[in-house]
């Protein structure tokens, strides 16, 4: 099992009030699954996503990622897990504005301690796989929205992570470009990668092979569609 989450909770204290953003979730995700997490705002899907992405640690419960217990790691250890196991794709792309596409893609490799030569080769390789070889030297402001998201996806894949976490990956794109990006995800999935995606759009969730609906911090529904 790639991801195993057992009775995970995330509780925020606001003043004297305690808010359970994630109120006890059990979940298992296998290698090469394609999962969409859905839910209205306030359902806890973002918080759960942050927990899955090791950006945050749960208040209670356990989380095994790729066979390793990660619910109680230090900041540095979490950074290492994020670097090796997780590829993030954000709604707003989050590329570094001053860096070229290639430099953006190389970033995870730098923090992974990969040598400059190998970085260049691997960045070129993933940029090619998203069809942006000719845009490698361009900065984000010289790229279209779809191209930017492709760069972001290339960056997410460059470290060959265990899972790719996508947070509303088409939220800032027009529908035509959105479809292009989703078909790119299909290709990536077909190549054997595991994808977990947060979205609130049904037609985007339709691309996934499994849809998990959250409500009030709990799983309301978990349907496999393949």
């Amino acid at each position: 099992m790639l991801i195993k989450v057992r009775d995970v909770k995330k509780i925020y204290e606001v003043g004297i009030q305690k808010i359970e953003a994630v109120a006890g979730i059990d979940l298992e995700i296998d290698r090469n699954e394609y999962v969409a997490i859905m839910g209205p705002s306030g359902s806890g899907k973002s918080t759960f996503m942050n927990l899955l992405g090791c950006l945050d640690t749960p208040s209670a419960g356990d989380y095994w990622l790729n066979g390793k217990e990660v619910s109680n790691l230090s900041d540095d250890e979490l950074a290492r897990i994020r670097n090796r196991e997780i590829g993030f794709v954000f709604q707003t792309f989050n590329l570094l504005p001053r860096a070229t596409a290639a430099q953006n893609v190389e970033l995870p490799l730098i923090y992974g301690g990969i040598s400059a030569d190998e970085r260049r080769d691997r960045a070129a390789e993933v940029l090619e796989s998203v069809g942006l070889t000719d845009r490698a030297k361009h900065r984000p402001n010289e790229l279209s929205g779809g191209q930017r998201q492709r760069v972001a996806i290339a960056r997410a894949m460059v470290n060959r992570p265990s899972i790719i976490l996508a947070d509303e990956p088409t939220g800032n794109l027009d529908s035509k470009t959105g479809i292009e990006i989703m078909s790119l995800f299909d290709t990536i999935h077909a190549a054997g990668n595991t994808i977990v995606m947060v979205t609130h759009e049904e037609h985007i969730a339709d691309y996934a092979k499994r849809v998990i609906r959250l409500l009030d911090g709990k799983i309301e529904e978990d349907i496999r569609t393949d």
């Binding site: 950074a79 001053r98 970033l107 923090y111 301690g113 990668n193």
Partner: protein, 424 residues
């Protein structure tokens, strides 16, 4: 291709992150050109001031030393007590027997290493006015000495001569004028053979001294010398201080001279084996060293004062870095999401700050040396580039970036990646 890790521990290759952080720093400087340049110039001004100060001080120091210790040959100097010594009870020291011409004669007869000896009476700051017809000098020092004084301190005579042993023995009223009083009393006139007045006594001018072109200016030229015997007769005062100057024969080491003079002085002053010295021997070398250390202290104080400018630059760095960190909150979040550890983020901003101030340092070194060179030319003293200070200036300015960048960098490193990622 889904599986697994890269197999490389990020901690094994810190160099990758370091290089990226440095590249990033240069990139930031390039994109925020105005802001970065203002900061670099700010730091550069601070470094310029400090370095110019140090360079001028060290050149000036050498010049002052050579001016004050203006002898071609090393010499000994005997006084009743250490002129710079503190700690002892001064009244006790003042009660010590004066050094006398008997001490000088005793040394002259017995000292094998001594070349020439001079007894000098220092008026302890009492000043006098010299007059000639309508002209008068400012207040100057009139010193009593033997005929050997001129030789001892390598005084160069412009007109006439120094007074002789004969004139000293006979307490003749003869006087050698420093460059200052000679110029004041005898503008465009030959002073030799003229009779000037000090108080009610008249003295024949036998010689005048050449200008010393000293950085000390008129201080070292505004005095006159008369035979010490004449001084005792006419101007003697009970608080006058007697000193003996001795040059050592070239075939002897200075230390040998000191040892011999020391032993002979004890004999001359009839000190028993257990008694402490009632005199004090300085050498011109020791004097030079002491001057050197005084100048070092003065220099240090000046450097401290001028480094306040650098501190201001440091505060500028902190300000800019705080702005930079806030502006790039999202970037910090992204980097953290991609695997940057808190230390990597910290390092990134520290390197950025140090690069800025280091660049300022280099510019400052360049401008500082240029300034010092200009000043050196202007007041004509040897220009010396203290390499060690250049290194210190660079290291110091880079450290300012590190120190003042610490707080902003720490702020960036402590960010919550989730909040940072969603910062607008």
């Amino acid at each position: 291709m889904s599986a697994g890790t890269t197999g490389i521990d990020p901690r094994d290759k810190k160099g990758q992150v370091w290089t990226e952080n440095f590249r990033q720093a240069l990139e930031v400087i390039r994109t925020h050109r105005m802001r970065s340049w203002l900061l670099i110039v700010g730091v550069a001004i601070g470094v310029t001031t400090v370095l110019a100060m140090v360079t001028v001080m060290s050149g000036l120091g050498k010049r002052i030393q050579s001016d004050i210790v203006s002898a071609d040959r090393p010499y000994l100097f005997i006084s009743r007590f250490d002129p710079m010594g503190g700690g002892q009870d001064r009244r006790d020291l003042l009660r010590r027997k004066q050094l006398t011409i008997r001490d000088v004669k005793f040394l002259e007869e017995n000292c094998a290493s001594c070349e020439k000896l001079d007894l000098q009476i220092d008026p302890q700051g009492r000043m006098r006015v010299l007059r000639y017809e309508g002209e008068r000098t400012n207040l100057i020092q009139v010193v009593g000495a033997t005929h050997n004084m001129g030789h001892m301190y390598s005084i160069s005579i412009e007109y006439g001569r120094f007074f002789t042993e004969f004139e000293t023995d006979r307490s003749r009223r003869v006087i050698v004028l420093g460059y200052g009083p000679a110029k004041d009393l005898f503008p465009n006139r030959d002073p030799i053979g003229k009779w000037i007045k000090i108080g009610n006594h008249r003295y024949e001018v036998v010689g005048t001294m050449a200008s010393r072109e000293s950085v000390l200016g008129s201080i070292s030229e505004n005095y006159a010398v008369i035979p010490f015997t004449t001084y005792e007769k006419d101007l003697g005062y009970r608080f006058d201080d007697y000193q003996i100057g001795i040059t050592i024969k070239p075939e002897f080491e200075l230390e040998e001279g000191v040892d011999e003079v020391h032993a002979l002085m004890r004999a001359s002053r009839k000190l028993g084996p257990g008694e402490v010295n009632d005199f004090y021997i300085t050498t011109s070398e020791g004097f030079k060293e002491m001057l050197g250390s005084i100048l070092t202290y003065i220099g240090l104080v000046l450097v401290v004062i001028s480094s306040i400018g650098l501190m201001v630059g440091g505060i500028g760095v902190m300000n800019i870095m705080l702005i930079s960190v806030t502006e790039r909150t999202r970037e910090v979040g992204v980097r953290m999401a991609l695997g940057a550890r808190r230390n990597d983020i910290m390092q990134q901003f520290l390197i950025e700050a140090a690069t800025l101030t280091g660049a300022g340092g280099m510019l400052g070194i360049f401008l500082g040396l240029l300034t010092a060179r200009g000043v050196a030319k202007l007041i004509s003293f040897p220009y010396s580039v203290p390499i060690i200070w250049i290194i210190i200036a660079f290291v110091f300015s880079a450290s300012i970036g590190l120190i003042f960048g610490l707080y902003p960098a720490n702020r960036a490193a402590r960010m919550d990646p989730i909040k940072a990622l969603h910062y607008e």
